[in-house]
Each structure stands twice: as C-alpha cells, then as structure tokens.
C-alpha cells in the first residue's frame, strides 16, 4: 500500500507539488473594463503572466442584421457599433454606401459632417480621458471631462434631437440642417472649451504619480504596432503616421489645415499626449469648418429605391475617434448589402493587450487598457 502511494507520488511529482498560476477573472462585470470585456489574467503574485481577453459578451450580430436591412435602415445600427462615437460610424457607413453607389453629398453636407464628426471626436476623447484617469485612480478628471462633453451633447441634441445615438449622417447628406443659432453656440463652446484643455493638462499631464504610472508602461514599438494592426491615436503614440484623414483624405480634410499628432515613445503617456493634442487640433478644425460653411442643399436627391450595383464592393476607411474605421460592403444589385463588415479600431487595439501587459503588474493592465481606448461594443459588434 505504502509502496503504491510512493510510486504514485513519484510519477505525479510535478503535478502534485508544482505551483499553479493565480488566475483572476477580470470581468465581464468589473469596474475597470469599460463594459463587458472579460479578461482572464494569470498572475504570479502581482505580476501578470498572461492576459487572455474573452470577447463576445456584447455581440449583437450587427453584421448579420445589416445583411437583412436596406442600406438606409443600416444607418440606425451603425450608431450602436460604437455608441461613444456614433457620428463616426454613421459617417463611415454613409461614405461607404455613397462610394459603392457613386453618389456624392453636397458641399454643405460635407462641411456639416466634418463639424459633427470632429465634435464627436472631442466628446469621445473627453470621455476617454476621464475613464483613463479613473482607471489609474484619479476620479476627478472624469467629472471634468463629462462637464464639457455635456455641452457637446447639447449641441448634438439641438441639431438632431439625440444625445447618444444620433442617426444624423445619412446616405447622401445629413438628416437635417443646423439651426441658425448653432454656429454662434458652437463657436461659444469652442472659445469656452479651449482653455479647459489646459485645465486638464494641469490636473494630469505632469502630475508625478500620473507620470510614474504611465511613462514607459505598455510600450508599443512601431513594428509591433503596425504588424498587430494597432491604429489611430494608439499607434500615433508610437510615431507612426497613420491618420486616415491625411493618408486617404475623405470629405474635405484635404482642404483644411491640421497637424497629425505624433509622439515617439509609444507608452501610455504618449498615447495620452496624442489624444490631448488631438483635442486642440479638432477645435481648430471645427473653427475652419465653421468658417467655410456656406448655404446650400444638405442632401443629394436619392433614387426612390437605393440599390447597389450588382457584384460591386467597396472597402472604405475613415478615421474615427478610436482609429481606423473600415466598412466593407458587397452589393448584389438588391436593396440590401450582401455583406457588411465593420473593421473597428478597438478590435485590433485590444489584441495587443496581452503582449503589452506581460511581466507588468496587475494595475498596469488597467492603465494599458485605458490608454488603448477600447470600447466593448466596437470589439464585439
């Protein structure tokens, strides 16, 4: 009997006396994961050995739904793809459809689209800033960010009646023209908002604890970043010029002046800096658009039934608040898309999380996750 036991112990030596990983399940309900992202984290003490993202908790099969809706109906669903930056997805889908069908929106509509997409970028970055600071433990910037975001949402509400899912940018133009008081209100907001950026920077940017937590943490090298498909501000933090607005200009982005914000270090702090600088760039962009806004029609005349040409396809990209947003549409000559694929920035940005957090502490997962600006609805669609 004893011999038997001893031999068993010998055989199973490693499995019986080996050490095991400390596996922690972050999410799907967890205060730091911005929704229902689930991370299975293997820990060695406080040190992260592996981070496995588990997706799909917010999968609403939007791509399948879009295959069974007409093109204009799909716009409503695009709002839900990324509800923090719904205008961008509206725009991406509208542009893709227009390119597929050879339509073009009138100039006023284009300028309006630019104004609203850039306002949306401001709103999205503000929310991001608050959430990022909250992940690191500073709770106050969140309220500051939301305070200004409210005013942007007020502008949206004034125009299209909605504050979160706008359904504003339509195929061939925009839903409705702006009110006469929109332009002065928008300008007033920009004048009010620009000094506020300095306030956020005072609170966070050179805060020693903030620097300690973000500098050198989660470095994306340009090679790894490009290869892993990281895009948008997250990749620009590594010094790669990847702004679709510059690379493949859409709307009138080639007619306005703006700088592509690049940082070189590739750590959380650079990504933070890129977004903070983008706030200023967006403000100047909106000003230029407001200056060039001229009266005119806001919608092209669409055919009564919107049909895609048979066997046509388009892959159209825009720069959403989170990075490259691509829409792949395949038309089959009917009123419904045969295939509709959303290429979302968050999906690829979340992929690198494992690489970035290995060997770091558990608290750094939150910092890195926050700095990548991932949004779960966009990952899961």
């Amino acid at each position: 009997m004893t011999d038997l036991l001893l031999s068993q112990i010998k055989v199973n030596d490693e499995s019986q006396f080996g050490t095991d990983d400390y596996v922690v399940n972050l999410g799907p309900q967890h205060p730091a994961t911005h929704g229902v992202l689930r991370l299975i984290v293997k820990l060695d003490g406080e040190t992260v050995k592996e981070t496995i993202p588990v997706l799909g908790y917010l999968h609403r099969s939007i791509e399948k739904i879009c295959e069974n809706r007409t093109y204009p109906q799909c716009i409503t669903y695009t709002d839900r793809v990324d509800y923090v930056s719904a205008m961008s997805v509206n725009l991406a889908f509208a542009l893709a459809t227009e390119r597929l069908m050879g339509l073009e929106a009138p100039p006023r509509a284009q300028w309006l689209r630019m104004i609203f997409v850039e306002l949306q970028r401001l709103a999205s970055h503000l929310l991001w800033m608050g959430a990022f600071a909250g992940d690191i433990g500073a709770l106050t910037p969140f309220l500051y960010g939301l305070r200004e975001r409210e005013r942007i949402l007020d502008l949206f509400e004034m125009t299209c009646g909605q504050r979160l899912t706008y359904n504003y940018i339509r195929i061939g133009g925009v839903m409705i023209d702006i009110l006469p008081e929109f332009v002065p209100k928008c300008r007033a907001f920009l004048d009010y908002f620009e000094p506020k950026i300095a306030e956020y920077e005072d609170l966070l940017t050179y805060n020693p604890i903030f620097l300690e937590r973000t500098k050198g943490v989660g470095v994306i090298t340009p090679e790894v970043g490009i290869n892993a498909g990281v895009c948008g501000p997250s990749l620009r933090g590594s010094g790669v010029s990847c702004d679709v607005r510059k690379q493949q200009p859409y709307l009138f982005y080639d007619q306005v002046k703006f700088n592509e914000c690049l940082e070189t270090a590739g750590d959380c702090w650079s990504r933070y800096k890129v977004r903070m600088r983008e706030l200023r760039e967006s403000v100047s962009l909106i000003r230029q658009c407001l200056d060039r806004l001229e009266p005119g029609p806001i919608e092209t005349k669409l055919p009564p039934v919107l049909k895609a040409p048979p066997a046509s396809e388009i892959y159209s990209r825009i720069e959403s608040s989170r990075g490259e947003m691509g829409i792949y549409l395949v038309g089959d000559g009917t009123v419904k898309p045969w295939k509709c694929k959303y290429r979302c920035a968050s999906f690829n940005n979340t992929y690198v999380l494992d690489q970035l957090t290995r060997g770091w502490k558990i608290a750094d997962i939150m910092a890195v996750l926050g700095s990548l600006d991932m949004i779960v609805p966009e990952v899961d669609r």
């Binding site: 997706l55 799909g56 999968h59 099969s61 791509e63 399948k64 295959e67 069974n68 390119r99 597929l100 050879g102 790894v224 490009i226 290869n227 892993a228 498909g229 895009c231 790669v240 010029s241 990847c242 690379q247 493949q248 040409p309 046509s312 396809e313 388009i314 892959y315 990209r317 490259e324 691509g326 792949y328 395949v330 009917t334 419904k336 045969w338 295939k339 694929k341 290429r343 999906f347 690829n348 992929y351 899961d380 669609r381």
Partner: protein, 157 residues
Amino acid sequence: MTNEELKTKIESDFKDKVLSATISAQKELIVVVKPESYLFVCQGLRDKSEYAFQHLSCQTAVDYPKENKITVVCHLWSYKYGHQITIKLDVDRANPKAPTLENIWKSANWFEREVFDLYGVIFEGHSDLRRIMMPEDYTKFPLRKDFADDGFIIKPN
C-alpha cells in the same frame, strides 16, 4: 503608384500565382490568388519594399452559396506609399480550409478567429483557433447565408 501600375506590376511579379487582377468600378484593385500561392503572395506584398503592405487593415469572408464558395477577403494598406489592395481567396464551402496569415500579420490572429467563428473557415496553422464572439459550445456559423437558428430563420435574399 496608381492602381493601374500596381496591377501590371503585380501581374508581372506574381505571374502564375494570381488568378485575376481587376480594378473594380469603385476603383479598387482586387486580386484573386490561387490557394496554393496565397501565403507566398501575401508575404511578397508585405516584404518587397516596392509594395510594403505592412498593414492588414481588414480580413473577413463573404459567403456565396450559389457558387458554392466562401471568399476570404484581405484588405491591405501600405503606410509607406498609401495604396490599398484587396486580396481574395476562394475556398470550398463544404470543406473550407485556408492557410493562416498569422505569421505574416499578427493582426490576422483575431481576424481569422472571427472568420472561423462566423463562417467556419478553418485556418491551417493558426495558433489559437477558437470561437471569439459566439459561445464556445456553439455549433453553427451565423454569418453563412443558410444559417438558421431556432426561432430565427432568414432566407438568403
């Protein structure tokens, strides 16, 4: 390089590896490759400095039940030159198998998991081919056109 130049260059560089290279009505260059040379073409497009397609922007699949094929579609983008290309690979619908691009572009890892999850295309050589959106014990492939779930039936249009 314009799309036309790119097209002639690809046709000469990958002469017997490409089934067709066309410029669509939407002015996109679409290249259909032979299954056996899929990896070779992709590797060449990434590594050759005159193409420099470093960025796999999007990878997905389209289901064509009538033609009995699933097309794996890759959209590549070159940060260096700013051009875009669409790579297509047709796989058999009954036995969909394609080589993995994971070793060329890391981003293909999750894209291919998604295509596997929603279309059932098996990527050979993939390091971690699991379902990504649907539950792990799910058996169907929802984005196929003949997909039917209990209480949720859609006929292909």
